[in-house]
């Protein structure tokens, strides 16, 4: 881990009074390598190291404290701060029903997360309704309906011959009639460079007017995490991020990449395939993983 990697470097900082640009340059190189190995985007690493240097340079070394550990603590704290120091909640509508829009690349976990969210909402006393506008992926509509049944949560009956915008309008009407107060809209996975599909998503957003747009991202995504996140943020917007598949052994550097380029708070973590495996985001846990 990072502390071990600093072993040799620390000896050189030992006995010095202050951390300087010079005497921490070696440790900054180790941090850079650790972050790149953890899949943090190379441009994001550059900015992060610059921010850490700003925090570290001029800091007095504390007596009895190993300076290497001091540097690690500064790095760790800066990482936790960047990832989002506090837990953020769903933005509910001030009055009337709330609409939550799920967005993201193919296979990131949107449909599964939609169901997990529904379960959380139900347990908090809300009455959610689900709707899928994924008329493209084979059996996507069935997938959400099966999950809704497992939770005993209503799923609007969309079919593949319907137009996504019409599905949205009809689902909003159904929402009023059933007395449900949250509508979660599951969308088809799409590429940020697919103009037609990004335009469709923009029109869906315009139609349902969500107070929460969750970008669902696979936590094992590599360097490309910044490209998709940036595009989705600029073209559609996002009020929160869900990182999925954190029950694996990926270091999860995509978390830092996505947070840094979009500024959107990471709100939830998917930690399993089961419908009860969605947790509130814990920045310290992810920081620990990223630093290895």
């Amino acid at each position: 881990n990072l502390s071990d990697r600093f072993e040799g470097i620390v000896k050189r900082i030992q006995g010095l009074h202050k951390l300087t640009e010079e005497n921490i340059s070696e440790s900054m190189r180790e941090v850079r390598m650790a972050l790149l190995e953890a899949d943090v985007n190379v441009g994001v690493v550059k900015k992060f190291i610059a921010d850490v240097k700003q925090q570290a340079v001029g800091v007095e070394t504390m007596r009895g404290v190993n300076p290497g550990h001091q540097v690690v603590k500064i790095v760790h704290d800066e990482l936790v701060k960047t990832l989002g120091g506090q837990t953020e909640k769903i933005n509910f509508a001030e009055r009337g029903p709330t609409v939550i829009l799920m967005t993201g690349l193919q296979g990131s976990g949107k449909t599964t997360t939609t169901a997990k969210l529904a379960r959380n909402l139900s347990s908090q006393g809300y009455r959610p309704m689900l709707v899928s506008v994924d008329i493209y992926r084979p059996a996507a509509l069935e997938q959400l309906k099966v999950l809704g049944q497992q939770l005993d949560v209503p799923v609007f009956d969309s079919t593949v011959d319907m137009d996504p915008i019409d599905i949205c309008r009809q689902a909003l009407d159904a929402l009023k009639q059933t007395g449900c107060n949250v509508l979660v809209v599951d969308t088809a996975g799409r590429l940020h460079i697919d103009d037609n599909m990004m335009d469709e998503l923009a029109r869906i957003r315009q139609t349902v007017n969500p107070t929460e747009i969750l970008f669902v991202a696979d936590s094992m995504t590599g360097q490309d995490a910044v490209t998709a996140a940036r595009e989705f943020n600029e073209r559609i917007g996002m009020t929160g991020v869900v990182l999925t598949k954190l029950d694996g052994d990926t270091r999860g550097g995509a978390a830092l990449s996505i947070k840094q380029v979009t500024g959107a708070p990471i709100k939830f973590m998917g930690v399993g395939e089961k419908i009860n495996q969605l947790e509130v985001f814990h920045p310290e846990r992810i920081a620990g993983r990223i630093l290895g």
Binding site: M33, L36, E37, A38, D39, N41, V42, G43, L105, Q106, G107, S108, G109, Y136, R137, P138, A139, A140, E142, Q143, V146, L147, Q150, L191, H192, I193, D218, M220, T221, G222, Q223, D224, A225, T227, A228, K245, D247, G248, D249, T250, R251, G253, A254, E273
Partner: protein, 280 residues
């Protein structure tokens, strides 16, 4: 990077960044950059286009190291069994639809085994691909034993004289011991029923995946042996550079590339095109 002409520090930094952003990883990137700095010092490389050429050939030689047998080679044993594995959402089920259609397009009969008995609507999804590709399907109820599905599918394939059997499995994270045990059992059942099978164990990797792909490949390979990789979603902006590390350290070849969500969006892996795309 194409706008640079001088081999200065700016160019080297930018080059390093291009290599990192393609997910090639720290080890290979640093090795290439160090070899480069050494050759530039010795004046062996004079300008930026020579450098790009130098790197491309170094990367292609990594890729060429693994010996490749195409996935849709002429079917000699019947049924030719392909076991498709990989982590959640990588593109296994979709890739199976694409592969199946290549076999049926040249007149071979295909049977699909719906051994993802866990995920909601997984069987329906595969059934649609069976229909689209003109393949038969063997499936059990949701929640049934995947090994039982594969066992039945093998029996059916032999009884019907099918040329190819492709088994779809549930997505699973390699770090989950019980799921890896389930996969080992599926493979054991196949090998016991038909010695020599599965003839191809295809690991499906998402091109957007970072360094975790290396541990995915290593662990799936240690568990049941991986004979080839299908790299999906290369129609996005991710370069999939992590496969260079996999090909070099594990010697597992990338055989197929997924470039979209339609049935025809499958191509054989071409090293030069793949490496060239990293710099375009």
């Amino acid at each position: 990077i194409g706008s640079h002409t001088k081999l200065d520090d700016d160019f080297m930094d930018e080059l390093e960044e291009v290599l990192f952003s393609s997910d090639i990883g720290v080890d290979i990137t640093m090795r290439i950059v160090n070899d480069l700095r050494r050759d530039v010092k010795k004046n062996l490389l004079k300008d930026t286009s020579e450098v790009i050429g130098f790197i491309e050939s170094e990367l292609v030689s990594i890729v060429r190291g693994a010996k490749v047998e195409p996935v849709d080679a002429t079917v000699e044993t019947k049924p030719y069994v392909i076991l498709v594995i990989g982590v959640n959402g990588a593109g296994k089920t979709t890739t199976i639809g694409k592969i199946a259609s290549r076999f049926t397009a040249r007149g071979e009969s295909v049977l699909l085994a719906a051994a993802d008995t866990f995920r909601a609507a997984a069987i329906d999804q595969l059934a649609t691909w069976a229909q689209r590709s003109g393949s038969d399907l063997v499936s059990h109820k949701n929640g049934s034993d995947p090994s039982a599905v594969v066992f039945d599918a093998l029996k059916a394939a032999r009884a019907r004289g099918c040329d190819v059997l492709i088994a779809d499995t549930a997505g699973r994270l390699h770090s989950k011991v019980n799921l890896m045990e389930e996969l080992k059992k599926v493979k054991r059942i196949i090998s016991r029923e038909l010695p020599g099978a599965p003839h191809e164990t295809l690991l499906v990797l998402d091109a957007t995946t970072g360094q975790n792909a290396v541990s995915q490949a290593r662990i799936f390979d240690e568990a049941i042996g991986v004979t080839g990789i299908a790299l999906t979603k290369l129609d996005g902006t991710a370069k999939g550079g992590v496969v260079l590390n996999i090909m070099e350290t594990l010697k597992i070849p990338v055989k197929l590339v997924g470039v979209g969500e339609r049935i025809e969006d499958l191509r054989p892996f071409v090293p030069e095109d793949f490496v060239h795309a990293i710099f375009s």
